[in-house]
Symmetry: C2
Subunit: 193 residues, 2 copies
DNA sequence: TTGATAAGCGGAGGCGCCCTCCGTATATTG
DNA sequence: CAATATACGGAGGGCGCCTCCGCTTATCAA
């Protein structure tokens, strides 16, 4: 058997998995609330586990951030797939997805902040999230192009970069509603005419 | 008496001024070393004053950052004036000034980081530094144009934005030497031909 | 000069957070 | 139902934050 290399390992304990998940959710809540510096003890409290448990699962602050971030990126990726599968107006689907992305970035601005720590260390994470996000964009775009509703001369990368650019240019001061409006303008521009 | 409004105030004590200056220098050293999170106690230690003294001068972390930053921006502003006054090759002067700016930004990357805190609060600081920096750029540019050595169809704002853009695009990973090289290319492009 | 006093100084102390370590508890396995 | 690998909680030591206050000193008026 191939299990030779990694010895024979027990399967992970159920409570361990549960706690890991609780920690992820708690971290999302605590850090999401605009404070990327929030204490890890607060995260453990919110999760209802001991501080030691937190440290066992995520030995460093960065690892926790990274895990939460991956989680949220995956949520957005899944959302794109779901929207496409659902069918319906493709432009509306793209619009919704971009809105969700912006909403997540703004509500979790603490994340972004914390990420700069994590991203500095692991460029693998950058690559992963970039790929996942452009992949999602590509999916939505393709379904729009196939349906003859969107122009086909724009690359998913450019769309995603535009998202990030719009987001950052507005970043610290402006009302999120303004950002959403800009996104809508942009999406309207993607309509085939 | 007109002193009604502001009472009669003694002039500030000499040791107080000295300590303030020592703190500013210490903070520049401590935070400059790439760590915007460094402890304030370390700053006080480095300055050779008590922690209480630090807090009296700069009640919040942000205020200290802001003061240090203003100080450094002023240094760059003064440098531009000095370079122009000295005469000599104007292109070389601009090049030197941009190098100095980049060097300061990279060695003090901890500053930039800490600044995001301060800048979030005081957009007045943003305005001040922007004005001071573009002012310096304008001065250097004008002296180059007057000497017939630089093209006159580029605005100081654009030059400064280019500086910032180049800097940020390279920011976390790349070798500072690469950034310097890009700056040199850019400056070369400003030569009148 | 000198004494009065406003201004400034240092650092002890209370508190919260970081992280480690280990005795206790429990899920998994045969 | 053991046996044991795994995971759990939280006490505890260390450090940084910030306040508070008794002591020191620069300034000023006489």
């Amino acid at each position: 058997m191939a299990s030779q290399t990694a010895k024979t390992r027990r399967k992970p304990r159920a409570d361990s998995l549960r706690n890991r998940q609780k920690l992820l959710e708690a971290a999302s809540v605590v850090f999401g609330a605009g404070d990327g510096q929030a204490s890890l003890e607060a995260v453990a409290r919110q999760a209802g586990v001991g501080i030691g448990t937190l440290y066992r699962h995520f030995p460093t602050r960065e690892e926790l951030f990274e895990a939460v971030y991956r989680n949220e990126v995956d949520i957005l990726g899944d959302l794109a797939e779901r929207l496409v599968a659902e069918g319906g107006d493709t432009v509306e689907a793209l619009r919704r997805w971009l809105h969700a992305s912006i909403r997540l970035f703004t509500t979790k601005s603490g994340m972004i902040e914390g990420l700069q720590l994590a991203a500095a260390g692991s460029s693998e994470l950058r690559a992963y999230s970039l790929e996942r996000m452009t992949g999602a964009t590509a999916l939505l775009l393709k379904s729009g192009v196939d349906a003859g509703q969107m122009r086909d001369d724009i690359s998913p990368e450019d769309i995603f970069r535009a998202l990030v650019g719009i987001f950052y240019s507005q970043m610290p001061t402006k009302d999120p509603a303004d950002t959403i409006r800009l996104i809508d303008v942009f999406v309207d521009g993607l309509r085939k005419r």
